[in-house]
């Protein structure tokens, strides 16, 4: 990370560039963000305070920054904060009145980040003191963002994303788009480590020898599977038993009873006269193993009998699970035109009406067998552009270069450096020149090298102009932008259209329409799933342990095995979150509907789960359908979704604390700090003298009696208790342990509510801005693959402002993210020399910190 003293002067230098950027971006916005950067008086008078060296602490004259602090900020702090953080008091180790130097004020982003977060979310001022006036808050915000953080409002700091390794979802999708092969990385690769709540964080994705080995194996496997290793093979046509039909009964050849006469056939269209091999794979099958029976099957090729076979069924001889297969091959000379292959089954006496079957598994026609009439193998044209590789060594090499250049450019998602291409061609040549090797094998092995290259496995970005001043900001080049877009919205590589626009330098000029196209594309389901399932943590429902016995016992129900969650239910519950998110995105609804939407999504499984089998008949299949709810319904929005209710529960009961914490972290963006060590257990704090089993509410109330606990639980518990009408299975309930549920409460910010339905309304009216900010932070984190830093606050604010003025429409969030400096630009490299590597002999490792 650059230090502020390095950053600031460069921001000055870049002002001209920066405004150019803004103008450019302004034309691309789907919604009007451009206007937001006006109205920053601080910026007009003194946009950035240059600080080049550390100032001595005391008697020096006041710098402009210090003067501004004393004049505008200190009074606000004195009025609102000094009661605990001034005048000799330093609650939490913080005395705000002791900040007196530029160094303390301007090189202290962690502190100011806390101040801005705590004041905005109403955590501070604490102990029932009123929040800052909106005017004071605005003044404080501006000062922190543009002076304390040193961000130039005209040229927001984009930060820098570490070189980004493809995670296993991105790898799988990219391989699929590049080679047409589905390689199941969920099985083959270790799971990705998660940072900031997401699995695509550049800093957290590592390479180990194990993983490197897996990349090598994967590259070899997918190339072996996808890329033909010779130019000519005998042509084949294939038909499975399903395609063999009985003209009278309409039944197919997959399971032909020993006891029913049948004649199934399939007609192959033969393109040219020649010798052909007709290869049959047939089998036997039975549901029981001890009956004996026989049948005769006659194979006819057109009207000629090719074979006539008695198939005996010997009961247990073949075992019960895997049935024997037989293969037959017939050589024929066929004229061009239609040719029929048929199997006629005649029952023989004996046996009972049990299910013994003759099966047509598949029939393959290979030919013409004359090598002169062989054809290209499947997929040949995908990787090889000519009918045949030239024989002349130079021409051969030139052709290999052409093929590998095209492939590597696609795989690297940017032009391949000449030097790299030379090496690839060398590699291919070395192999295809070896005895017994084909040209295709050489090229294929070089393609393996492409897929093991860091240029493929990492997203390597470059600034637009090579001449950018070191240590400043620059737009990322259009190839980088294409990849940023495609990995953000599709979790895969750019498609041809994006790539061509980037190559022509036209992507930014067509950004808005491209984003629209990408969002409408089916590949956007990758974004919907990967983002929403991680933001809401609904994905955890696939594995969360829940004990039906204990959960239902609290409601007086004796659980049966049928009450345990099935895998299908878990999948449906997870899909619900994505369906909801997808609806809001595709219909450009307001994100407010995440909080208090009056609809839900159901498929057959989920309708049955939430309601009953009768109602579920309205929702055939797996497809999620929108259901509008009547006013006052308990459900609607993400807060009370089954998956959310479950992943925030303990295995045996609800956890209002976890639910409250979930809301703070994922909706309000103001996480509670972790609990102090050795806290008394909830149950130990429960009131002892009660005449009944203490309710969850009473237990938590006793817990909050300890002021140490209260500071955070006052914020969490009311939110969680409001959701007590949902049990740990996400079902609506009215009692817990035999007592009626009391879901009333009062937020630490003062609003009272009677249950979660009220709460949803309060959140969306009084806490909308916090929610917008939280959702923006989450999406920006996912889009960039990095955590949010202090210098991102102005970027986030700008997006939130735009959402506010667009009624929270989803498109305003999405375009805000895509058009942000953080997404469009990057910090360029500083010129600072790398730290010298230590080379002292190892004597002591991991010296305690």
């Amino acid at each position: 990370m650059n230090t502020p003293s390095e950053r600031r002067p460069n921001a000055w230098v870049l002002l001209a560039v920066g405004s150019g950027v803004s103008a450019l971006l302004g034309t691309l916005l789907l919604t009007g963000i451009a206007g937001c950067s006006s109205g920053t008086p601080v910026a007009q008078t003194s946009p950035v305070t240059p600080v080049t060296t550390k100032q001595p602490t005391s008697p020096s004259p006041e710098t402009p920054a210090l003067a501004q602090f004393h004049q505008n900020i200190q009074p606000i702090l004195a009025e609102n904060c000094y009661e605990c953080h001034g005048g000799g008091k330093s609650k939490g180790g913080l005395a705000l009145d002791k900040l007196n130097t530029d160094d303390q004020l301007l090189h202290n982003p962690d502190l100011w980040l806390k101040v801005i977060k705590y004041t905005r979310s109403g955590i501070m001022p604490a102990d029932g003191n009123p929040p800052l006036s909106s005017q004071d808050q605005a003044t404080l915000d501006k000062w922190i963002e543009f002076t304390a953080f040193g961000v130039d409002p005209q040229n927001l700091d984009p930060g820098r994303v570490t070189v980004h390794k493809l995670n296993r979802t991105e790898y799988r999708n990219t391989i699929h788009d590049l080679l047409g092969v589905d390689f199941n990385t969920d099985v083959e690769f270790p799971s990705d480590d998660i940072g900031y709540g997401f699995d695509n964080i550049a800093d957290v994705l590592n390479v180990s020898p194990l993983l490197m080995e897996k990349y090598l194996t994967a590259a070899q496997t997918v190339v072996d599977q996808a890329v033909p290793n010779k130019s000519r093979v005998v042509a084949t046509q294939l038909a499975t038993g399903k395609e063999f039909l009985d003209a009278t009964t309409g039944k197919d050849g997959t399971k032909m009873s020993y006891f029913t006469p049948a004649n199934v056939s399939h007609t192959f269209s033969i393109p040219q006269e020649g010798d052909y091999d007709v290869k049959l794979e047939e089998g036997l099958g039975s549901d029981i193993t001890f009956t004996t029976a026989n049948c005769t099957v006659t194979v006819n090729l057109d009207d000629q009998v090719a074979s006539k076979t008695v198939y005996p069924w010997h009961g247990t001889n073949y075992g019960s699970e895997i049935y024997p297969s037989w293969f037959e091959t017939f050589h024929v000379h066929w004229a061009a035109g239609d040719h029929q292959v048929s199997m006629n089954l005649e029952p023989l006496a004996g046996g009972t009406k049990s299910v013994i079957a003759y099966q047509v598994r598949k029939v393959t026609i290979e030919g013409p067998t004359d090598p002169a009439k062989w054809v290209h193998p499947a997929n040949y044209e995908r990787f090889f552009t000519r009918d045949e590789a030239p024989t002349d060594p130079d021409a051969r090499r030139a052709y290999a270069r052409e093929l590998l250049g095209a492939f590597a450019t696609k795989a690297f998602r940017r032009p391949v450096p000449e030097e790299s291409l030379d090496k690839l061609v060398d590699l291919a040549q070395k192999i295809y020149s070896a005895p017994g090797k084909t040209f295709e094998q050489g090229v294929a092995q070089a393609m393996v090298a492409v897929l093991a290259s860091p240029r493929f496995l990492f997203r390597i970005e470059e600034p637009l102009a090579a001449s950018t001043t070191p240590g400043s900001f620059a737009l990322v080049d259009e190839y980088s932008l294409a990849s940023r877009l495609s990995y953000f919205l599709w979790s895969t590589m750019p498609d041809d259209e994006l790539f061509k626009l980037a190559a022509a330098g036209q992507l930014r000029a067509h950004l808005a329409e491209q984003v629209q196209r990408m969002v409408a594309d089916p590949r956007a389901s990758a974004f919907i799933q990967n983002f929403s399932e991680q933001w809401l943590q609904s994905r955890a429902v696939l594995n969360v342990p829940l004990s039906a016995k204990d959960i239902l016992a609290r409601e007086g129900i004796t659980a049966s095995a049928a009450d345990d969650l099935t895998p299908a239910q878990r999948v449906a519950l997870n899909d619900e979150a994505a369906a909801y998110f997808g609806y809001v995105m595709h219909n450009d609804r307001s994100v407010d509907e995440f909080l208090d939407g009056n609809y839900i999504f159901l498929n057959s499984t989920l309708a049955n789960y939430y309601y009953d089998a009768t109602y579920a008949r309205n929702f055939p299949g797996n497809e999620m359908r929108k259901v509008d709810l009547s006013p006052g319904d308990w459900r609607g929005g993400v807060l009370t979704m089954g998956s959310v209710m479950m992943v925030t529960s303990n295995p045996t009961r609800t956890s209002p604390v976890k639910r409250g914490k979930w809301v703070l972290e994922n909706i309000l963006g103001a996480p509670a700090p972790p609990p102090p060590p050795n806290i008394p257990a909830l149950e130990e704090a429960a009131p002892k003298n009660a005449d009944h089993t203490p309710t969850m509410r009473e237990t938590l109330a006793a817990h909050r009696a300890d002021p140490l606990c209260a500071s955070c639980h006052d914020r969490m518990d009311p939110l969680g208790l409001a959701m007590e009408n949902f049990d740990a299975f996400g079902a609506v309930r009215t009692t817990d342990l035999g007592q009626p549920i009391d879901a009333t409460g009062k937020l630490s910010t003062g609003e009272s509510f009677k249950d979660v339905r009220d709460l949803k309304h309060i959140l969306v009216t009084n806490h909308r801005e916090e929610f917008y900010r939280c959702l923006t932070e989450k999406m920006l984190t996912y889009a960039l693959g990095r955590g949010m830093e202090y210098y991102d606050v102005p970027t986030i604010d700008k997006i939130v402002k735009s959402m506010d003025s667009n009624g929270g429409r989803f498109s305003s969030l999405l375009s805000g993210v895509i058009n942000s400096a953080a997404f469009q630009e990057e910090r360029t490299l500083t010129t600072e020399p790398p730290a010298p590597a230590a080379s002292a002999p190892i004597l002591s490792l991991n010296t305690p910190r």
Partner: protein
């Protein structure tokens, strides 16, 4: 008319998949092994070895990772999550006269091959002003003995882990410098433990303070990595050779590409690419070693495991079988093994515990939850015993058992899961370290960092020039 015959115009073939599938199904429970000696690489007893430290020499290991008899010396760290109920863990008696308590009863058959070590602590996992997150800290500190940075992402940092200290000095002796195995396949969606990035909970081994080594979780992939792909020994040998040839052709290119990138990247980028390049180099070196001694690919002569078994017990045992095979065939001498990541909250319905493990450990003195936690503690100890018995039943090249020629540590960075304490950790050290350890005892030490034990272990492995590790205060004497 004719009846189906094995041969027609086209070579007919009976499918043998049934027999094969049946065989594989039973594999999780019993791995049939051929005669052990045939698996021993012939080079072992006469192997040359690098210079050894005076200390290692004094302890009997005149050569790196080698016992006095010339057999390989192995070291493994097996970690189970969430601590163990202390009152059921600690034995009664002391020294050689001790009685196993309920949780460790499964180890009765190997009681004289283990040491139960009391008094060891992982203080780096203590709160220390970092607040909650003891499970993440235990994971990140357990083998590194250094505080891990509290962060959600970008700047995570622990330390090199003790197994990697050994692997980096001695790894050249075997095809794989070390192995990392885990039976924990699930990454938490969203956040991990209280403000910590997930890497601390899912990785035990760290090759540098910023490079966690992701473990292999799939026994099939682990097997194929060690022995090659294919249904027969010959096919597997063939695939290993082919893999070497193919990888050599590619690695050269990959290495030069990576070095070529460095010029245009930031320091942080370069750190990522360094990890990448280090990995490339390790594979290159492995291929070079394999090419130098082509006789060192013993095949276990068993079928490739089908994948991850549905039952957790079968799964754990299959992965332990793989570790046993890796040691037996001298594919590696250093390993770490994660039963489940610390803080894991999986249920144990297959042994009658429907609640999550982590949930049970916070039992708040509820006898029912304590009992359930004990069931899980006992389960893990049972799997450990399975592994030790297997190691003990296998004869090594020098006629001793594999267990005799090993140091297998079993434990975790949390002592009492209810309190998140990190002192008096539940630690068992199994094996005789090739005759340098004194098993068959229960010792309650004066409180000492567990790093002291690590130093005593790597001394025996022949690691040189390591005076201190993490928060160590010396060597653990009398082990």
């Amino acid at each position: 008319m004719n009846t189906p015959q094995p041969h027609r115009q086209f070579a007919a073939e009976r499918h043998h998949s049934l027999e094969r599938r049946r065989f594989l199904r039973g594999l999780g429970v019993c791995l049939a092994l051929p005669a052990m000696e045939s698996l021993m690489p012939s080079r072992l007893l006469g192997a040359a070895s690098p210079g050894a430290s005076a200390l290692a020499g004094a302890l009997g290991g005149a050569r790196g990772a080698t016992t006095a008899t010339g057999a390989p010396l192995r070291m493994a760290f097996l970690s189970f999550p969430n601590g163990a109920i202390p009152s059921k863990w600690w034995p009664t008696g002391d020294g050689k006269n001790f009685e196993l308590n309920d949780t460790l009863k499964p180890l009765a058959n190997v009681k004289d091959k283990i040491q139960i070590l009391g008094g060891l602590a992982d203080q780096s996992a203590d709160n220390g002003g970092d607040g909650g997150g003891d499970h993440a800290r235990s994971g990140g500190t357990f083998l590194t003995a250094v505080r891990c940075k509290k962060t959600l992402g970008a700047d995570f940092r622990a330390g090199i882990s003790i197994d990697q200290v050994a692997a980096q000095q001695l790894g050249h002796l075997t095809p794989f410098p070390s192995l990392q195995i885990s039976c924990d396949t699930v990454q938490n969606a969203g956040a991990c433990d209280s403000g910590y990035v997930c890497v601390y909970q899912h990785n035990l081994s760290w090759s540098s303070p910023t490079t966690p080594l992701s473990p292999e979780t799939n026994p099939r992939l682990l097997f194929e990595r060690l022995f090659g792909t294919g249904g027969t020994a010959a096919e597997r040998q063939q695939s290993l050779l082919m893999r070497q040839t193919q990888q050599s052709s590619v690695l050269d290119f990959v290495g030069s590409e990576t070095r070529g990138l460095g010029r245009t990247l930031s320091a942080r980028d370069n750190q990522k690419l360094d990890e990448f390049l280090t990995s490339v180099r390790e594979i290159e070196q492995r291929i070079q070693r394999a090419e130098a001694s082509p006789d060192k690919h013993p095949d276990p002569g068993i079928a490739t495991p089908a994948g991850i078994p549905a039952s957790f017990k079968d799964y754990v045992r299959l992965n332990l079988d793989m570790l046993h095979l890796a040691f037996l065939t001298d594919n590696t001498r250093v390993a770490s093994f994660i039963f489940k990541g610390d803080g894991n909250n999986s249920d144990f319905a297959e042994i009658g515990v429907n609640e999550g493990h982590h949930f049970c450990t916070h039992h708040h003195n509820d006898p029912d939850l304590i009992a359930k936690t004990c069931v899980i503690d006992h389960f893990y100890a049972t799997q450990f015993a399975y592994f030790l018995e297997k190691m003990e039943a296998t004869k090594d090249v020098d006629g001793n058992s594999l267990l005799h020629n090993s140091m297998i540590m079993y434990g975790g960075g949390i002592a009492d899961g209810n309190r998140h304490s990190h002192d008096n950790l539940p630690i068992v050290l199994a094996g005789a370290g090739g005759g340098t350890l004194k098993p068959g005892r229960y010792t309650q030490y004066d409180p000492a960092p567990i790093a002291n034990l690590y130093l005593s272990m790597v001394d025996r492995m022949g690691v040189t020039a390591l005076d201190r590790f993490g928060d160590s205060t010396g060597r653990l004497a009398n082990v």
